[in-house]
Amino acid sequence: MASTKKPRIVAAKTAPARARRTPRKSSAQHVVLLVATRKGAWLYHGDAARKTWSTSGPRFLGHTVQHLVLDPRDGHTLLAATKTGHLGPSLFRSRDLGRSWHEVKQPPAFPKAKEGEKGRVVDHTFWLTPAHASEPGVWYAGTSPQGLFRSDDAGDSWKPLPALQDDPRYRAWMGGEQDGTPDGPKLHSVLVDPRDPAHLYMAMSSGGVHESLDRGASWTPIVKGLEVVGGFDASNIAFHDPHCVRICPSEPDRLYQQNHCGIYRLDRPSDTWKRIGKNMPKRVGDVGFPMVVHPRDANTAWVFPMDGTSVWPRTSPDGKPAAYATHNGGKTWQRLSAGFPESQAWWTVKRQAMTADANDPVGLYLGTTSGELWMSRDEGARWACIARNLPEIYAVEAALVS
């Protein structure tokens, strides 16, 4: 049996149910991790040093939770995108940081088709994004199959943005039921320019990256420079498969992207992506799902490479998990694996399952499909395990709360 270095474990205190319902009395800010899994959601509250974590959960046990997101505009509202294997999709909202939950009145749903036409059905909401800081209560939701919805009432009701629903070009670029991920085609990476509430980006797997200057009323593809699978025509938007796109909070003219075909950077006003993943080590490659940006330094970003050779195992290359960081906009990359298992660890990290907090130094967090939650307090230099034996982790978000 191959030896595997035992990973360092950070103590995770499992609070009793009664204690979990007791509001935290400290007014100091701390990081809370919002962990969405195939079988429920968990919250992990960190101490001030981010060394120990207390567990709250499961919530929605048995429900598939695709995304669990805090509203940074009020610091206590959570939205959860849920579905069970058999009931239709829904959203739940908490106004007290997860202590109590209520189903929203009208979750995202496509318009009823005209007589004789085949209508679309939302299988699940995949991505949730709070709108601009100046628009309290406004949210965006990306769905599977691809749809983009907006709520003006803090998630209680949702309307589809007609530019995507009704534009035949966009419907063609979305592809059909046989396209997209094994879990269905998805609209994701809904990004809001912090300087302008009307300036949005979004991405579709498949279906490319797109920009709107009018709050989603109209969209323009931005795919120049992006590669597609060999033999296909890169001018066909339908062939583009962005996995995760992020906008830099400190420099909103800069975007990073982990694509099915590499890692890219875009500096607006240019509309041409640059493949910075070519600078990754050849033996690792630049395939992966998540993309993480630094809250204050637009030259720093992180990825978590997956094996994209032969049949695309999409596991850590050679069974050796590692994040990679760039500190110069993608010119060079640094391997960050200290603390991770050194071998025989065949991790998969999904596109929503790696994130950063806003502390200094930045904390990084990732969840694996094998149910492990890991973090670094020092921007990736050293990693430690927070939790094991969770269900398949779909999404991890980090937020500062009081």
Binding site: G85, H86, L87, S90, E103, K105, A109, F110, V122
Partner: protein
């Protein structure tokens, strides 16, 4: 009429048998949604199709159409088939 409710929907109804009325399954589901807001969308999609794994039985017979007519004394059971792990 009496309507049997499967366990995944008890969070809406609070009990496994409820009273509801309607001249068709469509109307019955609408009444259920009035009493238990949100239940309908978990069972019927936005194109008015019964979702996969959800089934209606009227007087012990499976019914696949929401336009199926109902009589006041009918017994309706909403059933969820379970699959996967």
């Amino acid at each position: 009429m009496k309507v049997g409710i499967p366990s995944p929907l008890l969070s809406y109804t609070g009990k496994s048998e409820v009273e509801a009325s309607g001249a068709s399954l469509h109307e019955l589901v609408a009444d259920l949604d009035r009493q238990f807001p949100g239940l309908r969308f978990r069972v019927i999609d936005e194109q008015d199709k019964i979702r996969p794994h959800m089934r209606f039985f009227v007087n012990g017979e499976q019914v696949l159409s929401l336009s199926h007519a109902l009589q006041p004394g009918d017994s309706v059971h909403l059933v969820q088939a379970l699959s996967g792990g």
